[in-house]
């Protein structure tokens, strides 16, 4: 089940590409994502919402956070249709999913340090 949250094959590939900078990439992703989440909560302009969800979707997919990318995609679509109905619930789901991803990332970071 963990693969949906953070794909290990993707992580392995990233580790190979980034070498020593792999932990830094994980940190940066988390830091970036927190900033984006903050924006998702704050923003009420649909266009800004689309842009942020889109970027968040992109970086999540790059990190192998499949479920998170999928939720961001839904958010992007919904914001695009300018129907803000159910948005809050979706952002809540993204919060929850990110909490899981963050935990997995931190575990990964620990593992790498050992």
């Amino acid at each position: 089940m963990a693969e949906i949250h953070l794909d290990h094959e993707v992580l392995n590939a990233l580790q190979e590409v980034m070498e020593d900078e792999y932990p830094l990439l994980l940190d940066t992703f988390l830091c970036d994502s927190e900033e984006r989440l903050r924006q998702l909560h704050k923003v009420d302009d649909p266009r800004q919402l689309v842009a942020t969800a889109h970027s968040f979707k992109g970086s999540s997919s790059n990190m192998g956070a499949i479920r998170l990318a999928e939720l961001c995609h839904q958010l992007e679509q919904r914001a695009q249709d300018s129907s803000l109905r159910g948005i809050e619930q979706l952002v809540g789901e993204i919060d929850g999913e990110f909490a899981i991803v963050r935990q997995l990332c931190e575990q990964e970071r620990q593992r790498f340090h050992c």
């Binding site: 590409v17 980034m18 830094l24 990439l25 970036d32 889109h54 992109g58 790059n62």
Partner: protein, 568 residues
């Protein structure tokens, strides 16, 4: 995953920090140098400063988005190809189309695949190099073209100096030639002979460009040199043919029409080797007599096979000879149809004002739909009164200190020589040494030429000049002349020149004798001295131009005198 190609400088514009990091690592590991920007404005700024080879561009970025940045970078790149690969998880086709419209060359979807990215960078680099090569080659071609044009300018300037030593600006010549016709192999030359005749050559070398132009120089040299020395068409033609045959590579030759327009005798002598028909336009009848090519071009045959036979046509005042290059009749329309001789003749038929003929032909060519060719050459020479033309004064380079003043010389030219040798240039050269005669050289040379041809044609060959009273007889006369000369077994022409001082001046006596049957001097002399008849022009010409002329021995011997006053 090292790249084998030379490393590139890759600009990555991406606002997500982790994505930017990841992409930078991937690209760097592929051996390229990386520049990073976190928005479009930074990307444009970096592009201006560092001129990266390739750009990876996120579409959605703050400050300036990827579309605008792509547009600006493409504009800044100018002709060079700076490939832009859009980084996007955009999936709607409308958004992808926007990337292309902004100048994007390709896409890379998230999540990034290093393998696909490497392949795309490689493909884009190939395109980039291709464009670079194309531009380089284009610039090289431009450079070569400029170089070639410059060479042509120089060659043309040199050649113009040579060509303009002739008399193309004489009042009886109209011509139309593109300024660079020379480099299409077209050549137009005209010069006066010492006797006041005019030689005109319209030639067309095979080929184009410099190779077609180089043959023009030696040809012009022979043309001017021999015309100035008093050689006739046959000798000049033989010399031109031999020279071209010697210097031109096989397969290169020169189609040419050569004219000798004699204003005194009112006739035109024509040799056409491989050129389109020229036309003798008789004003009185409106008839246009075609001047057909009977010969191979110059530079094809060896000396022994070369045929220098010419045709002679009588002309009346105002009659015109029109020559043209094949650029006229070979002009093509959109369907590759040739303009052709028939259409040319329709223009002739419709022509009312002879002076507008060139313009009418040009209009017909452009209405025909052919692109204006730059190898269209036309020349028209009309017969004027001899006195309406002023042959340029001959230029002498000697000081006159060694001018011979008291001498005589006699020549006897016998049958075998008469057949193939023209003694006039040599005699003229002798007489040119006598400074006192130079002021009247035109008349002197005309008279000498007339005396010689009378002695040869009426005397030795026994041709009756009354044959020449109409155009048909005129042609028959010259055909007969060629036949009889060919068959000549015996006979002679003697020329005796005597120069002696007379007070401070001097005089020249010319005596010409022939082996012919003589003629009734009294009857010929009884005719009035006037010149509109085709026949008998010779005797009246001699009487007009020399100070004293007398015939003896039943017309077999003629003596002519030229005298001069002391030189100033």
């Amino acid at each position: 995953m090292q790249s084998i190609e030379a490393p590139l400088c890759v600009l990555i514009a991406e606002d997500g920090t982790s994505d930017r990091m990841l992409l930078s690592s991937i690209v760097r590991r592929q051996g390229h140098e990386v520049l990073t920007a976190s928005n479009g404005a930074e990307a444009v700024e970096l592009f201006i400063q560092q001129r990266p080879h390739l750009v990876l561009m996120d579409a959605m970025m703050p400050v300036m988005d990827g579309f605008e940045a792509a547009r600006q970078i493409k504009r800044l790149a100018g002709e060079a190809l700076v490939p832009i690969i859009f980084l996007t998880s955009l999936t709607q086709s409308e958004a992808l189309a926007r990337c292309l419209e902004a100048g994007g060359d390709d896409f890379l979807a998230k999540p990034y695949s290093p393998v696909i990215l490497a392949a795309k960078i490689k493909a884009m680099d190939r395109l980039r190099r291709l464009q670079e090569t194309v531009l380089q080659q284009r610039d090289q071609i431009t450079q070569h073209h400029d170089y070639l044009l410059n060479e042509q300018r120089v060659a043309k300037a040199v050649f113009d100096k040579v060509a303009h030593s002739g008399c193309l600006n004489a009042p009886n010549i109209r011509y139309l030639q593109s300024p660079y016709a020379l480099f299409n192999g077209d050549l137009l030359l005209a010069a006066f002979t010492p006797t006041g005749d005019m030689h005109v050559l319209l030639g067309d070398f095979t080929g184009h460009g410099l190779p077609a132009a180089v043959g023009a120089m030696p040809l012009a040299e022979v043309f001017y040199g021999m015309t100035a020395k008093g050689y006739g068409l046959p000798e000049t033609l033989r010399e031109m043919n031999a020279k071209l045959k010697r210097i031109l590579p096989v397969g290169m030759f020169c189609c040419a029409t050569l004219l000798c327009l004699s204003f005194q005798r009112r006739a035109v002598e024509v040799w056409n080797g491989g050129m389109p028909d020229g036309y003798l336009h008789r004003l009185a009848s409106g008839e246009r007599v075609p001047l057909v090519a009977h010969h191979l071009p110059l530079g094809v045959l060896g000396a022994e096979a070369f045929d220098d036979r010419t045709e002679v046509f009588p002309m009346a005042l105002g009659d015109r000879v029109f020559l043209l290059s094949d650029g006229v009749i070979d002009t093509c329309d959109a369907n590759e149809q040739l303009f052709g001789v028939e259409r040319l003749q329709q223009v002739f038929a419709a022509n009312r004002e002879p002076d507008l003929l060139f313009e009418e032909i040009q209009r017909a060519l452009s209405e025909f739909g052919g692109d204006a060719r730059d190898d269209v050459s036309m020349v028209e020479v009309s017969l004027l009164e001899a006195r309406q033309l002023t042959p340029p004064a001959l230029v002498y380079s000697d000081s006159g200190q060694s001018c011979p003043l008291d001498w005589s010389v006699s020549f006897e030219y016998r049958a075998a020589t008469l057949k193939r040798f023209n003694p006039l240039p040599y005699l003229l050269q002798l007489l040119q040494e006598v400074h006192g005669l130079r002021a009247q050289s035109g008349a002197l040379y005309s008279v000498l030429a007339e005396l010689y041809s009378n002695a040869l044609e009426h005397g030795v060959l026994g041709l009756d000049s009354s044959l020449k009273r109409d155009a048909q007889g005129f042609s028959r006369y010259y055909r007969e002349r060629a036949v009889r000369l060919e068959a000549l077994q015996e006979g002679f022409v003697r020329v005796h020149l005597q120069v002696e001082p007379q007070g401070a001046g001097g005089r020249l006596l010319i005596r010409v004798e022939d082996s012919g049957g003589g003629f009734d001097v009294g009857r010929v002399m009884a005719r009035p001295v006037e010149g509109d008849r085709l026949s008998g022009r010779g005797v009246s010409l001699i009487r007009q131009l020399s100070q004293r002329a007398s015939w003896s021995d039943d017309g077999r011997s003629v003596c002519v005198e030229f005298s001069w006053e002391p030189l100033a």
